[in-house]
């Protein structure tokens, strides 16, 4: 009787295990970070989008300069969907078009996160997006606001 119970419990656990995806992604939190102290100032979705399109944005007297983080493909995908609301090709075309029209610089692109952190520390008003767990590793970085929280699909 006990042997049969153990058999069915084992079978049940095996079936439950098989029904779960092999690589269930962990929950992540995407944050906006800066070395600058923006006070209690948070950026509105419109200001965020403008900053990452290279359009001048002023928050609490500080000229915001957005730096793009492309070190992680998943982070980049969430950034495109939740911050600039457009696909990569469309975003890049907008940046080229805006620079060509106005002469404004587009946000520089960092493929290595250490380089991004270094730039954030040297550029006045520099902001970027980062996983919260990475931002917490460096005490010089302030988390300005949470941009997205969830389990990537």
């Amino acid at each position: 009787m006990i042997r049969r119970g153990l058999f069915f419990t084992g079978l049940l656990l095996m079936l439950i295990g098989m029904s779960l995806p092999a690589d269930e992604p962990h929950e992540g939190t995407l944050v906006l970070v800066s070395v600058a102290d923006l006070g209690d100032g948070q950026l509105t979705p419109n200001q965020l989008r403008r900053a990452f399109l290279g359009i001048p944005v002023l928050v609490n007297g500080e000229n915001i300069r957005a730096l793009r983080n492309t070190s992680d493909p998943l982070l980049n995908e969430i950034f495109l969907q939740k911050v600039v609301y457009m696909s990569e090709p469309r975003y890049k075309r907008q940046l080229v078009s805006r620079t060509f029209r106005t002469g404004q610089m587009h946000p520089p692109d960092f493929k290595v996160q250490d380089d991004l952190v270094h730039a954030l520390k040297s550029v006045p008003g520099g902001v970027s997006v980062m996983w919260e767990r990475d931002a917490n590793k460096d005490p010089a970085l302030h988390v300005i606001q949470v941009l997205w929280k969830g389990r990537p699909r």
């Binding site: 419109n46 403008r50 359009i55 002469g103 610089m105 550029v123």
Partner: protein
């Protein structure tokens, strides 16, 4: 050809601003190459034209100083289209001096000479460049104020330009000739004033509508007239609804040709509406309608014989890589003397 010492000096300044870079780039270079095949209906294929061109763009900044240049090179053209030095009074307000594009309407302020950036191959007739037979001054040497005022999510863009207008050389192929950067004193050039205003309900978007007005007095040579006065006013809009974009502009023009004793005047309206639809991120079918009113017997239009008052355009754009596009376009053109079809095929790109 318009190469000169002032241009070389400004290009050297651009290089100087670009190369001693700090942690972040303070300058950008863009290249827009294009290969354009053009065939007019009823002509033999031997008469078709294949034109390679390259639009070279550079911009740099140091502190509040800005420098921007655009040079267009093709097999028969080397033109400095824009070369201007700017001072930013604030991040949204820049005063530029040098060779600038006249902010007349929407198309030129949006695409300049970067054909890759526009959905279509051809430009609307009212946005045709003056050195290509266009009706209106596009290249001005002067002072341009560009400012954007943002309130909440709304943005208000203002441009104000004062500078030297072109000279009209009449004759068999009447054409407006803009002042050269190296020889501003050559030819006759008078004041051109233009104002433009645009409202964008979402300051992070390019959706907009606006107004513009311009006045220019143009000396005329090789004709019975010696002066042309052009007063231009109009409206424009560009609106994107999901993947569908509408762009349009209407120009109202009053022209007066005189030589002291004789005076002929007229007025006409000309405009266009273009729709393009981005499908599957890479395919963009588009259509454009152009129409003019009151152009018959207008004295200025009678001089500008290349003007096409009515046109229908159909085309397809294929972005086969993120920075390269192939476009195919057919247009039906209704000029005063004839109606003809034109087929264009182009490859264009933006690098890097």
């Amino acid at each position: 050809m318009q190469r000169s010492r002032p241009i070389q000096t400004l290009l050297a300044l651009l290089a100087g601003m670009l190369f001693p870079l700090p942690a972040l780039a303070e300058g950008e270079l863009l290249l827009f190459p294009e290969l354009l095949f053009e065939h007019e209906q009823d002509n033999s294929l031997d008469d078709a034209e294949l034109t390679p061109s390259l639009d070279f763009f550079g911009t740099a900044r140091r502190g509040r100083l800005r420098l921007l240049g655009e040079v267009f090179v093709s097999d028969d053209e080397f033109d400095v289209e824009r070369l201007k030095l700017g001072y930013a009074f604030s991040p949204g307000t820049v005063v530029w001096a040098g060779r600038v594009h006249n902010p007349l309407g929407y198309w030129i302020s949006q695409y300049h000479h970067g054909n890759y950036l526009q959905a279509s191959i051809s430009r609307p007739e009212v946005a045709r460049f003056e050195d290509d037979g266009g009706l209106f001054p596009n290249h001005i040497i002067g002072v341009l104020l560009d400012t954007t005022y943002t309130s909440g999510n709304h943005a208000f863009d203002y441009s104000l330009l004062a500078g030297t207008g072109p000279e009209l050389r009449a004759g068999n192929n009447a054409e407006l000739h803009f002042a050269g950067l190296s020889n501003v004193g050559d030819g006759k050039h008078k004041l051109n004033i233009t104002g433009r205003f645009a409202y964008r309900p979402d300051s992070a978007s390019d959706n907009q509508f606006g107004l513009f007005a311009s006045y220019v007095k143009i000396p005329v040579t090789k004709a019975i007239y010696d002066t042309l006065k052009l007063t231009i006013a109009g409206v424009f809009s560009s609106w994107q609804l999901a993947d569908l974009t509408f762009t349009g502009a209407l120009y109202l023009v009053k022209d007066e040709l005189s030589d002291g004793a004789v005076k002929d005047d007229g007025d006409f309206a000309s405009g266009y509406v273009q729709a393009d639809y981005l499908a599957l991120e890479v395919w963009t079918p588009y259509a454009r309608l152009e129409h003019s009113y009151g152009d018959n017997n207008d004295p200025y239009i009678e001089l500008m014989t290349d003007f096409v008052p009515k046109r229908q355009v159909l085309g397809m754009r294929w972005d086969f890589t993120p920075r390269q596009a192939l476009k195919l376009e057919y247009s039906r053109n209704h000029a005063h003397s004839k109606t003809f079809g034109q087929t264009f095929l182009s490859w264009s790109a933006a690098f890097p």
